[in-house]
């Protein structure tokens, strides 16, 4: 009996146990990112599990966002439970399926947030004012696609171990996302070039100016624009600051344990022979 217990403990995927517990804690561990305009004109803190927005001292509510965040919270708790079970019983036929259900969820949530708060400001600061050419974005997308194909071919030829195949799958998916981003940026450049040849300055009334300056990920910047105020012309300066919050650190730790758990997870014996 003693020997069996030791054997059982040795088989447990401990990375997965930690990852599963962290996933169940994560939705309640605080927000990941904050955005502030002025000193309380707009205060926004968010994570994939919730958002709090106040504008001019009033709380803003979106039913759709609340329900989607609730769905994400339930989904991550279920995924955490699945990873925990899969890690405790790694040789069961269902363990790999359960592991794969949630293993990369937090990773993609963290990556998506970083991408949004990088690409969004990039589009606002660099593409919206106009004058960008498509070349660099199309080239980026093409190089990305070539790399994905190349990696797939090399992986098929040289990677034999199940963990290396999983790792390569993740790398390929990240590369595909990068390709998608280049395509998105190319579309933005095309749309701005086609419909806003003078950039955002082309759509503001004559005599008005817009100078967009938004920080990315973390930092402070000020956007200025002119507007009519009671019949006169006024300049509006919007100080914008944003930054990552404590919850994001836990998300990164969780994502690392998730990836380790997934890459390491042996699964049932027949899976390992594949």
């Amino acid at each position: 009996m003693k020997v069996n217990l030791r054997k059982l403990v040795r088989k447990i995927n401990w990375f997965g146990v930690i990852a599963g517990i962290l996933m169940m804690v994560l939705p309640f561990a605080g927000r990941w990112w904050r955005l502030t305009v002025g000193t309380g004109a707009i205060d926004l803190t968010t994570s994939p599990f919730g958002i709090t927005t106040t504008a001019f001292g009033q709380t803003m509510q979106s039913t759709l966002a609340n329900y989607l965040f609730l769905g994400a919270t339930i989904s991550i708790i279920i995924a955490g439970l699945f990873i925990l079970f899969a890690s405790l019983f790694p040789e069961q036929w269902w363990s790999l399926r359960l592991m794969e259900f949630g293993a990369t969820r937090v990773f993609w949530m963290a990556i998506s947030l970083v991408v949004m708060i990088t690409i969004g400001p990039f589009i606002l600061n660099n593409i919206l004012p106009g004058g960008q050419t498509l070349t660099i974005y199309v080239a980026g997308a093409v190089i990305g696609i070539v790399m994905v194909i190349l990696f797939k071919l090399l992986a098929r030829k040289f990677l034999k171990k199940w963990w290396s195949k999983r790792l390569m799958k993740l790398v390929n998916n990240v590369l595909l996302m990068v390709v998608g981003l280049f395509i998105l940026l190319a579309i933005c450049v095309f749309v701005v070039g086609k419909f806003l040849p003078n950039g955002v300055s082309g759509i503001v009334p004559a005599g008005s100016t817009v100078n967009i300056n938004v920080p990315s990920i973390s930092g402070t910047a000020a956007t200025t624009f002119s507007m009519t105020m009671g019949g006169g012309q006024a300049t509006v300066t919007l100080p914008i600051s944003m930054g990552l919050m404590g919850g994001f650190v836990l998300a990164i730790v969780t994502a690392v344990f998730n990836i380790l758990a997934w890459v390491y997870h042996p699964g049932p014996p027949e899976e390992r022979k594949k």
């Binding site: 001292g57 803003m60 509510q61 979106s62 105020m229 009671g230 019949g231 006024a234 919007l238």
Partner: protein, 172 residues
């Protein structure tokens, strides 16, 4: 193999349900109204920025009263009413005091310091300036402080929750 595939399908359906379910629930909770579902029943950004259009001299400023008027300087008080639904801070205020009887500029005045206003508050602000040559002549013509004065070319710098609005405000 079959049960693995079945589990795969069930997990896929679970993922799908956790995305589609909340969307359907949110829309049905708001009577399938897309605007209310997305933005809620009130949008403070829309209402508060609309509010800024109320910033104009006829809404905000009362007639100035001269407190002192001499070669040493001009001091006047102006009654200012905030037309906004939220607190603001006047960080800068400048304009020309004019004699309404003779249409001459008496002094270019400005606010020293800052003044805070709660929503729809009214306060008297003190502005200071130096007298112009026309002002001296107007004072002599009136035999003292001109009785009927106004303020023109008003420029204002407002702090609205850290957003800085700066410029000339109109009279409409």
């Amino acid at each position: 193999m079959k049960k693995e595939r079945l589990l795969g399908i069930l997990l896929f359906l679970l993922s799908l349900a956790l995305i589609i379910g909340p969307i359907i629930a949110a829309f049905s909770a708001n009577g399938w109204d897309p605007k209310v579902t997305l933005l809620g029943s009130s949008n403070p950004l829309e209402t508060q920025f609309g509010n800024l259009q109320n910033l104009n001299t006829s809404n905000m400023l009362g007639s100035p009263t001269l407190e002192s008027f001499s070669a040493q300087g001009v001091t006047a008080t102006i009654q200012v009413t905030s037309p906004l639904d939220f607190p603001i801070k006047i960080k800068g205020f400048s304009g020309n005091l004019v004699c309404k009887d003779h249409g001459v500029v008496l002094s270019s005045v400005q606010l020293l310091g800052e003044v805070e206003f709660s929503a729809h508050a009214t306060k008297n602000i003190s502005v200071l300036g130096t007298i112009t040559q026309d002002g001296i002549a107007d004072g002599i013509a009136h035999g003292g402080i001109p009785p009927n004065i106004g303020i023109e070319n008003v420029s204002i710098k407002l702090d609205v929750y850290g957003i800085i609005l700066e410029g000339a405000i109109g009279s409409a």
